[in-house]
Amino acid sequence: MDQIFFALLNGTIYGLLLFMVSAGLTLIFGMMGVLNFAHASFYMLGAYFAYTLQPLTGFWPAIVLSPLLVAAIGVVIERYALRRVHHFGHAHELLVTFGIAVVIAELVKLFYGNYPVEYRVPTELSFAAFTLSGIDYPFYRLFMGAVAVAMFAAIYLLLTRTRVGIVVRSAIYRPAMAEALGHNVPLVFMGVFGIGAALAGLAGAVAGAFYTTNPNMALDLAVLVFVVVVVGGLGSLGGAMLASLLIGITNSLAVGVNFSLGDIFGIVGLGEWAGSVGGVMTMRLSSFAATLPFFLMLLGFWCVRRA
């Protein structure tokens, strides 16, 4: 029971982190119709910037400054790379973001080396929040969850309660009309791109200390985040939230399950047959955990086709 509780909590918090990264991606997709391949690179840059700033400024200023730096990079990329290729169509935009992702990964390897860096949770934050069945639950995990929830509340209020939010939602839906009503839509897009990048950067700055900070972290996450955005219904913020939690929790639960397809056949007395077949029948669910999100995505596509 306690194990399931831990798995659910871990999954929820991981899901919330996924959401911080995918929120920006789904907003940018809604606006420009382009999946920004470099988005997970913003997550990685957030972690590396925080790691670099931490010795100079301390942990707290580092996780505030790092997202701001990432936002500035995001704005420059939107203004000088994406906007220039916009009129060539989506394929060009996708290629540009892909190229930027590669360049960022190589630059990180060049400056920090092709191995994980020593970015750690600060000692004043590494203590147990509570203990259940003799297992300490790290406070830092809860902290990550809290940051994500606070971010979600902030974006939600910004989008629904302010004039800027109304302009953003309109511009996503009908950019030409929003502009015809006197709103500087290119500026709005640049701002949203910057905020999306900052969110990913914040997620990286916070999570990089807990998980690992290495040059592959962008690629590892990019795939998951794409799945989140697709499963959540491209461009939908609420959908991305649900999909993030769904994927976070299924992943986390599946890892702890020592169950195979053969066991199900075992219930109806076909266990021996299943065992003799082997292969898929005897594979444990836990070893499928990493591929589960993709099953979800395929299921999503299948449902859309049927609908």
Binding site: R169, S170, Y173, R174, A176, E179, N184
Partner: protein, 237 residues
């Protein structure tokens, strides 16, 4: 004609390689309603889009109070005093009626007639009843009211209104006609594209007939009535 507030001079526009507008020229006097008439595909809607910068003009000038706005960004053109009510209405379905109206609210050009949300609700009480519902659930007529109000709240000098009565019930068509006359009486100049000739002739001070991306006739509604050859060649279906 009074002094021109909007003067379109030799406007050209292309969609890709096809040449749509071949030097469109007409003036809108201060406080006038000018209708652009013509068959489908004669370039009326494109003229409006080119004036607003939604289609970038490939030649010519759009003088608003003596300043050329052709080639500027659409939002700048709006802020200098032009408002656009598109044929497709372009309501933000994902926002409420109130939020749609907020989207339209702008400082507006200097010296333009000022409009408030309360005045809009006085025109169309139905919108007030539905102010907190999603605009996507409005009927076609209500959407048309909303799109006119939204653009009016930008306090424009000139309003470009494209096919406002298309697909509306006769009763609402009459209301839309009255509203156009009324906002014009309060000082907003109007360029109107309208398929229903009776309405266009009733509300307009002058009409411009378009054909093949050019203006082929300009004059008062009376002058048009006295030149049946124009009606026959360019308007009759």
């Amino acid at each position: 004609m009074k002094e021109a507030i909007l003067s379109v001079q030799g406007l050209h526009a292309h969609y890709g390689k096809s040449h749509i507008l071949h030097g469109v020229s007409f003036d809108v006097g201060e406080g006038e309603v000018v209708s652009l008439l013509g068959r489908n595909g004669s370039g009326r809607s494109t003229t409006m889009k080119a004036i607003m910068g939604l289609v970038s003009p490939s030649g010519g000038r759009v003088m608003l109070r003596g300043h050329n706005v052709a080639g500027q960004r659409t939002f700048t053109i709006c802020r200098s005093g032009l408002a656009y009510v598109p044929e497709e209405r372009e309501i933000f379905f994902n926002l409420t009626v109130d939020e749609n109206l907020q989207m339209g609210t702008q400082q507006g050009a200097e010296g333009a007639t000022r409009w408030t949300v309360e005045e809009m609700f006085a025109y169309f009480p139905r919108l007030k009843e539905r102010r907190n519902t999603r605009a996507g659930s409005l009927s076609g007529g209500e959407q048309q009211m909303l799109t006119i109000c939204r653009s009016l709240l930008g306090n424009p000098l000139v309003m470009l209104i494209d096919e406002p009565t298309e697909g509306l019930a006769p009763k609402i068509v009459a209301v839309v006609g009255e509203v156009i006359t009324d906002i014009n009486r309060q000082g907003v100049s109007v360029v109107l594209v309208e398929q229903k000739l009776t309405i266009a002739l009733k509300v307009s001070n002058r009409v411009c007939v378009m054909g093949h991306g050019q203006i082929v006739f300009q004059g008062t509604p009376d002058a048009l009535a006295q030149t049946p050859s124009v009606t026959e060649e360019w308007l009759a279906v």
